[in-house]
């Protein structure tokens, strides 16, 4: 199996999420070995996922946490 750049971008999420099969992974590896542009896309998507995990979460403010916890406790 050979992949074009468009095809690689189409299956990129599946590859990064570990949801692809071995044949697709091998084909992607062959393509990436010779395509600098796609390698940058793969690397940037990996960086995006790490940044999302690190910075994407928003903490419930303490005042709200205490208030809701109190409501749950009194309702329990």
């Amino acid at each position: 199996m050979k992949l074009t750049c468009d095809q690689l971008e189409h299956v990129l999420s599946e590859l990064l999420d570990g949801e692809s099969d071995e044949a697709l992974e091998a084909a992607a590896g062959s393509h990436l070995a010779t395509c600098d542009a796609c390698r940058v896309v793969v690397e940037n998507t990996g960086h995006l996922r790490r940044a999302s995990r690190e910075y994407g979460r928003i903490r419930l403010p303490d005042e709200a946490r205490d208030r809701i916890r109190q409501a749950l406790t009194s309702d329990e």
Partner: protein, 169 residues
């Protein structure tokens, strides 16, 4: 027996993140968190044991968030809400300037996503649920979730071009 307080302690930030990212209003998002755990406490959406507990909680949280969003269209502006993002989990106060800039731009870019893409992205890439769990929460097929994720990541990658180097992450 499930301890609601224990679930709240484990998942309040996650449900709040989902609600805030979708509603873009701190007070509405707090309401969504409270309604979610009160619904669990009052047994309005019993756990059937057919999947992970966390996914079940997020599913209730998503439904509460959508219900609140439908009831309240007069949400605050994006700019006002972005100014309130000092309650985020990270980056820490001493984070490098480049990291803070990346975090700020990531917020703006996530907010700019179509809500249908945003929900899939938040659950998969921020809350780190599996594609299957995201599909169940959003009541979509797994292939639809994959498609939304691919579009969301492509849009964010484009928006953040120049900020996604190894040095920034």
């Amino acid at each position: 027996m499930i301890s609601v307080i224990s679930l709240f302690d484990d998942l309040a930030d996650g449900v709040y993140t989902l609600a805030f990212r979708l509603l873009r209003d701190r007070h509405l998002a707090e309401d969504a968190v409270q309604e979610t755990f009160l619904a669990i406490l009052r047994g309005r959406a019993p756990y059937r044991g057919d999947g992970p507990l966390a996914a079940w909680v997020y599913r209730i949280g998503y439904r509460q968030t959508i219900a609140i969003g439908r009831r309240r269209r007069d949400i605050a502006t994006e700019t006002e809400e972005l100014a309130r993002l000092d309650d985020r989990t990270s980056p820490p106060a001493d984070a490098a300037a480049l990291e803070r800039e990346l975090a700020r731009r990531l917020d703006t870019a996530i907010n700019g996503l179509n809500p249908t893409l945003r929900a899939a992205f938040v659950l998969r890439d921020i809350e780190e649920l599996s594609t299957r769990e995201v599909a169940e929460i959003l009541e979509l097929s797994e292939s639809a979730v994959k498609m939304r994720l691919a579009r969301a990541r492509a849009e964010l990658r484009e928006q953040l071009e120049g900020y996604l180097s190894e040095a920034h992450v």
